[in-house]
C-alpha cells in the first residue's frame, strides 16, 4: 500500500497556513528537502503489514499518585 506521491510545495503552502507557521522564501529549499525525506520515510512505513490490533502507541499518559496532602483533602 503506497500513498499517492505528495508535492512538497503544496504541502508547505497548505500546512504552513493551517499551522500558522510562515516559511520564509530563503528557508523553503531546506524545508522542501526535509519534506522529501519525510515522504520517503512514510513510504517505508506504508509497506509494513500492520494488523488492526497493532496499536500500542508509544506515548504514555501516566497519572500521578496522590500526595499526602491530596489524600487528606
Amino acid at each position: 500500500m503506497t500513498a499517492a506521491p505528495s508535492d512538497p510545495d503544496h504541502q508547505i503552502d497548505a500546512a504552513s497556513a493551517m499551522v500558522g507557521l510562515p516559511i520564509a522564501a530563503a528557508w523553503r529549499p531546506g524545508v522542501w528537502q526535509f519534506l522529501v525525506v519525510a515522504r520517503q520515510m512514510t513510504d517505508i512505513l506504508e509497506a509494513v503489514p500492520l494488523a488492526d490490533d497493532d496499536l500500542a502507541l508509544a506515548p504514555v499518559f501516566r497519572l500521578p499518585r496522590p500526595t499526602g496532602n491530596d489524600a487528606d483533602a
Binding site: 504541502q11 508547505i12 500546512a15 504552513s16 499551522v19 500558522g20 507557521l21 516559511i23 520564509a24 528557508w27 531546506g30 524545508v31 528537502q33 526535509f34 519534506l35 525525506v37 519525510a38 520517503q40 520515510m41 512514510t42 517505508i44 512505513l45 506504508e46 509497506a47 509494513v48 500492520l50 497493532d54 496499536l55 500500542a56 502507541l57 508509544a58 506515548p59 504514555v60 501516566r62 500521578p64
Partner: protein, 485 residues
C-alpha cells in the same frame, strides 16, 4: 602523594583509578581537579568541547571531598573523578542552553539535574557543561552559535552529535566521564567518531529530570567513558527511581559492576545482515566483524540474523522525532525562527508540516518493530553491529554515500543507531580501531533491561584489547584549510 609533575593522573587514566588514588590518599581531589582544569584550558580553545567551565565549583567540590576524607567520612566510588555534562543538563547557576541561542535567555537553573546530583553524591566533581548540536537535533557536532566541536583525532573532522562535547571531552582526557543524551543516536554517534565508550540504557532506566527535552517519547540519558568498567561505575551511580521523570520506570538499581567480569561464554551473538549491513561502509563492517570475532574467541556463538525490520523502525524514528520535536518547539518556531541554527531550523519547520496520519502510523510501526526485535532476541542474547556507517566526515560535509546512494548527511549519519533508540533497547558502544587511525564504534545491543549483559560483552572486548579508547594525538594540530567549520 603522587608527583603531578610527571602527570600520573594524566589524560588517559580511568575514572576508577582516579577514585582509587583519591580514596587511598595518593593524590588529592583538588590536585586532580586542578590538573583537569589545566588540560581544559590548554585544549578547549582548539577542540571547543566546553561551553561553560565550572572551575570554582570544581575546586569547591574537590575540597569538600578532601575534607570529607580527612574527617574519615565515607566518600563514594567516584571520589574526585572529574565529570562534565552536555549543556542540556541543568547545572545550578547556568542557563540550560541545549545548544541553542534562544535558551540563553532562560533564567539560570536553580538546581542540578537528578543525574548530576547522583554523580556528585558518588564523589564526582563537575568541571563544566559541554557543547552540543542545537536542541539535540544533530549527528554532526556542528553548531552555528558555539562553533563546531572538533574531533580530537583530527580537528578538521566532525565529532558526531548531538552529544558532541561529551565525546570530545572524554576522548581528549578532559573528563573521564561525561553525561550525554540519546534520542536517535546522540550517545553512540559521538562515541563512534571520537573513539570512546558510551551506554544508552533502556528507555526509562535513568532519570531525565532536570534536562531540556528533545523528543520526550525517545529521549534517554547515559554516560560516556574510556572503558567498560568506567561506564558501569558511572551507570551504577546514576540508577534509581525518580518520580520527577514520568518515563522513569521506578525500578530498584540493578548494579552492573559486580558481575562485569562474568564473561560471555555460551551467549548467542546475532550479526545482522541485509539492510543493516548495507548501510555500513567497509571500515565499519570490519570493525563490527572484529568485535564479533573477539566475542567468539571468548566462547560466544555467532549467528547471522535478518533484522530488516530495522529499516521501518528507523523510518518511524525519523518521523516521530521530526513531528514531536517540531510540536514542542512550535511557539519558538513561530516567534524566533531566525534565531535557530539554520541546519536545525529547516528540519524543525518541516516537522511541523507533517500529516497526523503519518505520525500515527509511525507509532504503530514502532510497536511492530519492537515485536520484530523481541522475536530476534528469542534466538540471540546480544546483537553486534556498527555504530556509524563510516569514520568521522570532514567538517562541513553535506552528503553521505550509503549503499551506492548519495544521501543528506545530517539525517543519515545515525542511520544505524536510530532503530534501537526508537524501541528503547540498551546499547553499549565500544571503540574498535587501531591507534593512529580514525575511530569507529561498534554497538552491542541487548534486550530491554539487560544493560549488564551488554557491559559484560564490552568488558570482554576491553580485556582482549579489541575495544580501547586509544588516545588522540597529544596536541591536536590546526585543521588544514578547506576542512570547514
Amino acid at each position: 602523594m603522587l608527583d603531578l609533575a610527571t602527570d600520573p593522573l594524566g589524560p588517559v587514566i580511568s575514572a576508577g583509578d582516579i577514585a582509587r588514588a583519591v580514596l587511598d590518599g595518593r593524590v588529592s581531589a583538588r590536585a586532580v581537579a586542578e590538573a583537569t582544569l589545566a588540560r581544559i584550558a590548554q585544549l578547549n580553545p582548539m577542540l571547543n568541547a566546553f561551553t561553560d567551565i565550572t572551575a570554582d565549583r570544581a575546586l569547591r567540590e574537590a575540597d569538600a571531598i578532601d575534607s570529607a576524607l580527612a574527617r574519615g567520612t565515607v566518600v563514594g566510588p567516584l571520589a574526585g573523578v572529574p565529570v562534565a555534562v552536555k549543556n542540556l543538563v541543568d547545572v545550578a547557576g547556568l542557563p540550560t542552553r541545549a545548544g541553542s541561542r534562544i535558551n540563553r535567555d532562560l533564567p539560570p537553573a536553580t538546581t542540578d539535574a537528578t543525574l548530576l546530583r547522583r554523580l556528585n553524591r558518588a564523589g564526582a566533581v563537575l568541571v563544566g557543561a559541554l557543547n552540543m548540536g542545537e536542541f539535540a537535533y544533530d549527528f554532526t557536532g556542528e553548531n552555528a552559535h558555539d562553533g563546531p566541536c572538533r574531533n580530537p583525532h583530527d580537528p578538521g573532522r566532525m565529532s558526531g552529535g548531538s552529544s558532541s562535547g561529551c565525546g570530545v571531552a572524554t576522548a581528549a582526557g578532559l573528563a573521564p566521564i561525561s553525561l550525554g543524551s540519546d534520542t536517535n543516536g546522540s550517545l553512540r554517534v559521538p562515541a563512534s567518531l571520537c573513539g570512546v565508550f558510551s551506554l544508552k540504557p533502556t528507555y526509562g532506566r535513568l532519570s531525565r529530570a532536570g534536562t531540556f527535552p528533545f523528543v520526550d517519547s525517545l529521549d534517554h540519558l547515559g554516560p560516556f567513558a574510556r572503558s567498560a568498567r568506567d561506564l558501569a561505575l558511572a551507570y551504577d551511580a546514576m540508577q534509581g527511581p525518580d518520580p520527577a521523570d514520568h518515563a522513569c520506570a521506578g525500578d530498584a538499581p540493578e548494579p552492573a559492576l559486580p558481575d562485569l567480569a562474568r564473561g560471555i561464554a555460551g551467549l548467542r551473538i546475532g550479526c545482522p545482515t541485509g539492510w543493516i549491513a548495507r548501510q555500513a561502509g567497509g571500515e565499519a563492517r570490519a570493525a563490527s566483524d572484529r568485535a564479533a570475532a573477539g566475542m567468539a574467541d571468548a566462547g560466544a556463538v555467532l549467528r547471522d540474523i535478518d533484522l530488516d525490520g530495522a529499516e521501518a523502525g528507523r523510518a518511524a524514528a525519523y518521523l516521530i522525532t521530526n513531528s514531536e520535536s517540531a510540536a514542542f518547539h512550535l511557539d519558538r518556531l513561530r516567534s524566533r525562527s531566525n534565531e535557530f541554527d539554520p541546519d536545525t531550523r529547516d528540519r524543525f519547520l518541516a516537522g511541523a508540516l507533517l500529516p497526523a496520519a503519518w505520525i500515527a502510523r509511525a507509532q504503530r510501526v514502532r510497536r511492530w518493530w519492537l515485536d520484530q526485535a523481541l522475536a530476534v532476541f528469542r534466538d540471540v542474547d546480544l546483537l553486534v553491529l556498527p555504530a556509524t556507517p563510516c569514520p568521522a566526515p570532514v567538517l562541513g560535509a553535506r552528503t553521505l554515500t550509503l549503499d551506492g546512494t548519495d544521501l543528506p548527511l545530517r539525517p543519515s549519519l545515525g542511520i544505524l543507531a536510530q532503530p534501537f533508540s526508537c524501541i528503547g533497547l540498551p546499547v553499549v558502544t565500544v571503540p574498535v580501531f587501531a591507534p593512529g587511525s580514525l575511530p569507529l564504534g561498534v554497538q552491542i545491543v541487548a534486550p530491554p533491561w539487560c544493560e549488564a549483559r551488554a557491559l559484560q560483552a564490552a568488558s570482554v572486548l576491553c580485556d582482549a584489547g579489541l575495544a580501547a579508547a586509544h588516545p588522540p594525538p597529544p596536541t591536536p594540530t590546526v585543521p588544514s584549510p578547506g576542512n570547514g567549520g
